[in-house]
Symmetry: C2
């Protein structure tokens, strides 16, 4: 904990002392020299607490390279670019990591973006426009074009100087990609191997041809597990003609994992997408309402089924008080199975056998938990009813027996439903994280209600005549 | 999609053709040469489909370096090491990334692990034991000791040759860490900068001193956001004396993000930790049962409160059928607020003002959704009751009015509860993802039940005399 406290203090000071420095009135040269001591991420955070006129000082002081670094880290980069003159903004955009620049342009409402793109030189503009053209759910939309290629015919020495030339413009140099004379992707070289190679070796000798790669049009969710599995610092993205278009760095993978899991997390709770702190009310309502309306309609349907048991409740009102417990429990079990299934679907490619195995495992788990909880409920609720509701022991345990059996049956079926429904949606190509929730809630409610009141009617009213 | 299909085929073949190769009966030299064409991750997957005697061929063929690579990628590395002779297994462990080796040793039941450690040379053993000694929730438990340090007094040329010497044993060379003559951490150099530096520059000129770092004893959840924010390829981990102990690579960050989010995801569904496909039944039951038992007890409590309204239900049995709908809706709204709050808590450091803002936003969102759904329910349920249950329009809409108002009130309060409870648990240092679920379910159930039956009693039975 000591470390954490230290660290937090440091961080507060970095951002605040940058702000102080800008407000200090020192000469531009001195401010600029001292700014060199701070990380771009901290300068980006400092922009948020500065006034527009203070930010203008920074825009004038810093060169395009440093500013583009800062903008890569800022969440409000579009706002800040808007404050600069359009030519500088355009220059900065051109110097940013192309995928970050594309993100920025896609997510801004700024009308200036057309101007920024028009002022940009053709190479950078084409690059950005090509990246922007990829579908958001393909892996190509996450790649960066900042990478180094070497021709396979080079000698070690030539490769090294080709690298030094390209390194001026490209940051990702720990993996180098080798292409043949036609530009077809051939393999990968770790920078480390190039450095350690003897001068008389050929580039071919150190090329790794079994290095993993993905195709540009693969869907993110289909290749995410592979990117995680191979855990390389960067993985090349190829066109259908096997030319290298870009690379996915492990920082990109961090982002993708965070986004994909964040979305699944949100969906499990019935939100259509992830939300954050500063989101406008209208958007939040919009993200939550669809699921809620659907649930209301389904809930109405469940209620009409419950209504069929009105006479049971009228005869024996006490049993109604345990309905909430049974429905809550079967809903919880269904959600547990759903969460496990969605994570398994995300992590692995399942064969038919795996799926059957998963369903059976979930059902066994539901049955075991159901038997344990059913037994607990039988004893606990029985004693409770006898003591506080003054039923005879026989009637008391008959009622709690109904509850225990219903719990067990409802939990068994809910765990099957919680597994089969997402598997089914995955099979027919519907996102299981979104679609499963409402259906599972409805089905488990129905199962719980029918089992409970049906059993109560059969056993308690028709057979034992408790009421 | 075409790309995805291509790729999937490729992947199938890689693993299967490795298995074929091993079974081919070719000479060891030929097999070994051809194995060079495959990625360690694919060889690891191939081990799973080979028989023990076939795996033995591989163990004999491959050298320790390649085998340790393969073991880093395998999920069953402990099983495979157990199959080898202990000295080879120990050698392989020593050559693995230290953090991966520690993970393997921590997660295996194998009795051989003591032997493996005993057979290991002292340097590697000490390294592993030191890494293993860190608490699992501190960032130090995720670091690797595979990194390169340079002394700040070196010239550019000396630094380059020191790097080449160290690179033989260390993979992570894209970031180099600089320490002063006392071994205190001084700053970072990108390998790229070292390569591009002129021979007459001093190392000091290219050291980046504003580079981010973390302390070994920081908790993972406290510094995760920082690791993501700075998005560097590796970040140094310092001791309390500011000596560099190891580094967190961005692959480590991928793992940490995946684990932390996976855990939160599981907890949201009431599992105590993440599960996977091949987990034994006993463990799955164990992970789910605690929450379920707690919920059963809390459910019993809710039921006893519902029991207080027995006379209301006995007088007007029909209203009982809509209980499930109101409880489901308030539970859903509470879960939505919980999910948003936990993600916000994970992503950002909140001030008191932020927290108030979040609670108010969630309540406004709950109120708006509640009003919309309440209105829908008022109209929809009213028509339903009048048509199918044959109530007069006045009585029908009185009943559905009760339902609509209860929905609105329950949703408003549930969204407040779903936000305040996790904030409260976070404040008192309890994991909000684990603790919040059961409490929120219980509170929203109680709010729903009391509002609904209370209102029904007051309005329908005491005032309008519907029954």
């Amino acid at each position: 904990m000591a470390g954490a406290v230290k660290e937090k203090d440091n961080e507060m000071t970095a951002v605040q002392s940058i702000a102080q420095l800008v407000r200090s009135g020192l000469s531009p040269k001195v401010i600029n020299e001292r700014l060199d001591d701070y990380h771009a991420n901290d300068i980006a955070d400092a922009l948020d607490i500065l006034q527009p006129n203070e930010r203008a000082i920074l825009y004038r002081l810093m060169d395009v390279d440093s500013l583009s670094d800062v903008m890569e880290y800022s969440d409000d980069a579009d706002k800040y670019l808007e404050e600069m003159n359009p030519r500088k903004a355009s220059d900065i955009l051109a110097h940013m990591e192309p995928d970050t620049a594309v993100d920025l342009l896609k997510n801004t409402d700024s009308r200036s973006k057309v101007v920024w793109l028009e002022l940009m030189d053709e190479v950078h503009r084409n690059n950005i426009q090509r990246l922007a053209s990829y579908d958001e759910d393909t892996i190509a939309s996450r790649m960066t074009t900042n990478f180094v290629t070497l021709s396979s015919s080079l000698s070690i020495k030539e490769a090294m100087s080709s690298l030094v030339r390209q390194a001026e413009d490209h940051d990702n140099i720990s993996q180098l990609y080798v292409v043949d004379e036609k530009g077809i992707y051939y393999g990968e070289i770790d920078l480390k191997e190039l450095i350690l190679a003897r001068q008389d070796e050929k580039l071919e000798d150190i090329v790794v041809t079994e290095y993993p790669y993905v195709y540009a049009d693969e869907r993110i969710e289909d290749c995410l597990e592979k990117l995680k599995d191979y855990s390389e610092e960067s993985i090349p993205v190829l066109s259908d003609e096997n030319r290298i278009l870009g690379v996915i760095t492990s920082q990109d993978v961090v982002e993708v994992v965070d986004d994909e899991m964040g979305d699944d997390y949100a969906k499990l709770a019935g939100l259509t997408a992830e939300e954050d702190l500063r989101e406008p009310l209208k958007e939040s309502v919009h993200k939550r309402l669809p699921w809620l309306v659907l649930l209301l309609v389904l809930g109405l349907f469940v209620s009409s089924v419950v209504g069929l048991f009105e006479t049971v409740v009228a005869t024996l009102p006490m049993i109604m008080s345990f309905q909430s417990m049974i429905l809550d429990m079967s809903g919880n079990v269904g959600t547990q199975s759903l969460a496990v299934t969605i994570r398994v679907l995300m992590d692995e490619k399942l064969t038919g056998k795996d799926k059957l195995h998963l369903v059976l495992k979930e059902m066994r788990c539901g049955l075991v938990n159901g038997m344990i909880l059913g037994a607990l409920a039988f004893v606990g609720v029985g004693i409770f009813i006898i003591l506080f509701k003054h039923y005879t022991p026989a009637h008391g345990f008959a009622i709690s027996g109904c509850i225990g059996i219903s719990l067990m049956v409802a939990m068994l079926i809910s765990s099957a439903v919680g597994t089969v429904i997402p598997l089914f949606f995955k099979q027919i190509g519907v996102d299981p994280a979104v679609a499963s929730g409402p259906l599972i809630t409805t089905v488990t409610d129905l199962v719980g209600v029918v089992t409970y009141y049906g059993l109560a009617w059969l056993l308690l009213i028709e057979t034992i005549h408790v009421a």
